[in-house]
Amino acid sequence: MDIVLEALTHTYPGGVTALQDVSFTLRAGEAVAIVGQNGAGKTTLVKHLNGLLLPTSGTVRLGETDTRRRSVAQMAAQVGYVFQNPDDQLFQPTVAREVAFGPHNLRWPAARAVAATAAALEAAGLTAVADRHPYDLAPSERKRVALAAVLAMETPIIVLDEPTTGQDYAGVARIGGLVDDLIAHGRTVITVTHDLDFCAEHFARVIVMGQGRVLLDGPARAVLAQADVLAQTDVEPPQLMRLAAQLPWGDAPLPLTVADFVATWIGRS
């Protein structure tokens, strides 16, 4: 299902307008990254996707349903949200039970819940620690527990809020692989990130936010090349695009991945 935002404006009770007249459609199966400076409204925006926040004006529709008409828990079956801080949700004595909590809330039959939990643990690289207490794990591992907990709910749409923060190289690669996998299975993945390389390598569409407004919205190659617009919101193009910009690249497509870059560069030579 699609998520449609129409003239979304959100003003916090303190008077700060975090989002100003935002409109776009997130289509089923898309991989979308939302980038922008700290305080641009990225997290505020994605919290509207599952009803955690409701618009001050404008509408957000999940499929046919206005998010005002459903509770967050009801929309949880459609939209999985991985929070930045995993400690806000961990309460079970083992990782496995934590991951099984979502399926339990969705009232799945036992067989399905068990299978989904196992698959999620595997995808997040947590099978080895499934019986450990989440608080015995390092913070970066706890983050993956939170991720697995949402994966297990097998929602068609997944929102990741800064998924790579605190992860090491291997952790980022694993999460990237996971995103690719979800997209390959037709799920919609939306991420807020300021890791532009991670963004370029896994997300086909990029939305750039600045001061509560959408500055750019389009295919990754086109959007991430616009260094001057990105700079307005404290963002820089990914490493390889910056490199290509200083090499005689001609009109070859700009590189999103290392393989892209080398193939084009060798091809041009």
Binding site: G39, A138, A170, L247, W265
Partner: protein, 282 residues
């Protein structure tokens, strides 16, 4: 100057040492980066330099750690925190929780040190300027974003005028240009005031751009030590799953596919990559 002499450390009730027989010397004013996979001991090293190991975390520490002329085990934590400023990875854990504005928050450490009020005001103004948060002075710390909070934490620590500054993954919270500004400010400070900087970071492009020296930790031990151009291009990082910058990865792949002269060193920064790829064109 910082010295570790055969330092081994175990957290309480653990078998595996978090730091294994580490020996190194970091001269004053050096901008030193520490990289490695999660669990390699980077944060533990940061805590050890700041004296939280062993004073806060207890456990078993063998070997000698000398910071700014003091042996960390034989002085109190209070003596050390003045000399070593530590900016944590999660800025929300760094705020005092008792201050209503950013300005007051930055003042907290100075109040504890008994700095006279007039001097406090000067130092606060200077560090807020340096870290780009002067405009946030009257805001409540709790309404700030992660990146803004990280800058407040840095300003608070810098106001205490430490001789050593340890930064634990600043890029994880800051947006790209924010990271660049903060690291540039820290680098300038290191040069002008001879502050030793220890940067713990996963994003190697920042290490490549700012560090004078890179230490690679794996499993608590030091496995590489040298200038960024050398260490970040080497295989050691790959062996210990510490990653590479995209520039290095691209050059490596090009080399594997025959599009790179065998003798040309692998670049680690953007300028190096531009020069290297241009030179490598047939």
């Amino acid at each position: 100057m910082l010295t570790l002499d055969h330092v081994t450390y175990r957290y309480p009730n653990t078998e595996r040492p978090a730091l294994r027989d580490l020996s190194l010397t970091i001269p004053a004013g050096q901008f030193c980066a520490v990289v490695g996979a999660n669990g390699a001991g980077k944060s533990t090293l940061a805590y050890t330099l700041a004296g939280f190991v062993p004073h806060f975390y207890h456990g078993t520490l063998t070997g000698a750690v000398t910071v700014a002329g003091l042996n960390t085990a034989s002085v109190t934590l209070a003596d050390l925190v003045r000399r070593v400023g530590l900016v944590f990875q999660n800025p929300y854990n760094q705020i005092s929780g008792t201050k209503f504005t950013v300005r007051e928050e930055v003042a907290f450490g100075l109040e504890n040190l008994g700095v006279p009020r007039a001097e406090m005001l000067e130092r606060i103004a200077a560090t807020m300027q340096l870290t780009g948060i002067a405009a946030l002075a009257e805001r409540s710390p709790l309404t700030l974003s992660g990146g803004q909070m990280q800058r407040v934490a840095l300003a608070s620590v810098l106001a205490m005028q430490p001789q050593v500054l340890v930064l634990d993954e600043p890029a994880s919270q800051l947006d790209p240009i924010g990271t660049r500004e903060v690291l540039a400010a820290v680098q300038a400070l290191a040069a002008s005031r001879r502050i030793t900087v220890v940067l713990i970071e996963h994003k190697l492009e920042w290490v490549a751009a700012f560090a004078d020296r890179v230490l690679v930790l794996a499993d608590g031990a030091l496995v590489a030590d040298g200038p960024p151009a050398e260490v970040l291009a080497s295989d050691v990082l790959l062996t210990h799953a510490a990653g590479q910058t995209r520039y290095t990865q691209a050059a490596r792949l090009a080399r594997a596919q025959g599009g790179w002269p065998a003798n040309q060193p692998l670049p680690v920064t953007l300028p190096q990559a531009v020069a290297a790829f241009q030179a490598a064109r047939p």
